[in-house]
Symmetry: C2
Subunit: 250 residues, 2 copies
C-alpha cells in the first residue's frame, strides 16, 4: 500500500528541469552537514557572514537557506546570540511529535515503561513500513505510556537494527528521539500518522487494564530522517476517555 505523504491533489508535475537556485544548493550542503552530524545538536553554527565567505555566496543567500532550515525545525535562530542546531530533547520538541493531550488540564510530560525489547526478523508489516529486505533485522520494543500518571497508551516500536547498533541492549529513556539523535546520529525530520478508531481485542484490553471491546484510537506512525528514509514504525493504541489527539489545520 503506497503511503501518500500529503494531499492527493499535490500530484502536479514538476518542471523536470535541472535548475537549482543557489540558496537551495546551500540548503542542501548545510543539510548534509547536519545529517553527517558535523554540527552537534545544541551547537552554534558559524555566523551568516562566515558561512557566506566560506561558501562563496552573499550573506543574503546564506540567510535564505538558514531560514528554510529553521522553518523545517532543524535549526533555531536567536537574535543577538546565533544559529543553533535544534535539540530534540527539550519539552517543546517532545510535544512536536506527541499530540495527545488531557481534555481538561495542561499536559505534563508523558512517562513510559518498557515491557519487552527484542532483536528479531521483521514481520511483513515491518518489512513494508521500514522498506527492509527479508534478511534484515529489527529491534522491536513494546511499552506502556502514562500521562499525568494514568495508563493511556500501549505501543509497539520497530526500527532497523542496522541503523541502531547495540540498541537492543540499551537502557531506554522516555524520549526516544533524542536518543536516536545523540547515540545513533539519526534525526527524525517528519512523521506521518494514520489514525483509526478500533475496538480493543482481548490482548490489547489486558495490556491497557480495561475491558474487551472498548473503543480506542490506533495511531500508525512512520517516522523518516533527514534523507527521507523510514527509520521507525510505531503502532500506538490509545485510550481517549480522558485524552484527545490534537491536530491544528492551517
Amino acid at each position: 500500500m503506497e503511503r501518500t505523504g500529503d494531499d492527493p491533489t499535490t500530484a502536479a508535475g514538476r518542471s523536470e528541469i535541472g535548475y537549482r537556485p543557489l540558496y537551495r544548493q546551500v540548503y542542501d550542503k548545510l543539510l548534509k552537514r547536519l545529517a553527517d552530524a558535523v554540527w552537534q545538536p545544541g551547537q552554534m553554527l558559524p555566523s551568516e557572514g562566515q558561512l557566506a565567505v566560506e561558501l562563496g555566496v552573499s550573506q543574503g543567500t546564506v540567510r535564505k537557506a538558514l531560514d528554510a532550515l529553521t522553518a523545517d525545525s532543524l535549526l533555531i535562530r536567536r537574535q543577538g546570540r546565533g544559529t543553533f542546531v535544534a535539540e530534540h530533547d527539550d519539552q517543546q520538541s517532545v510535544f512536536r511529535f506527541f499530540k495527545l493531550r488531557p481534555d481538561r488540564a495542561g499536559a505534563g510530560m508523558p512517562t513510559s515503561r518498557v515491557i519487552t525489547m527484542t532483536e528479531t526478523s521483521p514481520n511483513a508489516d515491518e518489512r513494508e513500513n521500514l522498506d527492509l529486505l527479508r534478511t534484515a533485522q529489527v529491534v522491536r520494543i513494546e511499552r506502556l505510556r502514562y500521562l499525568d500518571g494514568r495508563l493511556c497508551i500501549a505501543e509497539t516500536i520497530s526500527v532497523p537494527a542496522v541503523l541502531f547498533p547495540g540498541f537492543a541492549r540499551m537502557e531506554i529513556p522516555n524520549t526516544l528521539y533524542s536518543l536516536y539523535a545523540t547515540r545513533f546520529g539519526i534525526t527524525i525530520a517528519t512523521a506521518n500518522e494514520r489514525l483509526k478508531a478500533i475496538s480493543l481485542d482481548a490482548r490489547q484490553a489486558q495490556l491497557l487494564e480495561t475491558s474487551t471491546g472498548t473503543a480506542a484510537l490506533e495511531i500508525d506512525r512512520i517516522a523518516v530522517d533527514l534523507e527521507d528514509r523510514p527509520v521507525e514504525w510505531r503502532l500506538s493504541i490509545c485510550l481517549t476517555q480522558l485524552l484527545h489527539y490534537n491536530s491544528l489545520l492551517r
Copy 2:
C-alpha cells in the same frame, strides 16, 4: 496563526517598548484588505512594484509580506503570472481541511447529504465553542458525508446566525467553506481539531447504518477566521473501517 499574535503594540510609527517591522505593518494592511474582501478570491493583486509604490516601501519589503501571506495560505503566487487571493473551493483547498483518506486508493471528492437545517438558540456547547451570548442564534446543520460513494461521516455543524444572514434558507453546497467566503465574506484561516475514539450509541449507529457499539472516530473542530474569531463548530462521527485520518507532523 503565528502572524496574528497578541502583540499589544499598535501600528503607530515608533513606540519605544514594542517594535513592529515595516513588512509586518504591510502584512497587516494587506490582511485587512483581504478580510474586508477588497480583493475577491481568485482575483489578481497588483504587482509587487505597484504595491511598493502605493505603500511607500521597497519592493523587497512588499515581497516579504506577500511571502508571509502565502505561507499562511491566504495568497497564491505564480511566477510569470501574478499574485492571487487563494480560492478555497478548488480540490486542493478542500483537502486542506479534510484529512480522511481511503486506506487503499487515492481520495475522490467527498459528497454530502443534508438531513436537517435549523435556526435556533444555541445549546451550552455551541455557546462555549462559538463564544456566544445566550441571546444569540445559531444555524445548525446535520448532514451525512460519503467518500467514494460510501457512507462514512455523520456531522453536526453550527455557526453564529448573525455572521451568516439567510444561511438557513440556502441551498447547501458540498464545499461549505467556499460558500462562507463568497456569500458571507468569511475566510476560514485555521481549524483546531480534537480527536477521540468513541462507541456509537443507538442514534449515531442508526444514522450511519451500522450497529450500536461500533468504534468510531469523533472529530471536534473549531474553525476560526482571519481575525481569529471562532466562526464554526463541527462535530463529526466517522467510520474508519476503510478510512483513516492522516496527520503529517513536521
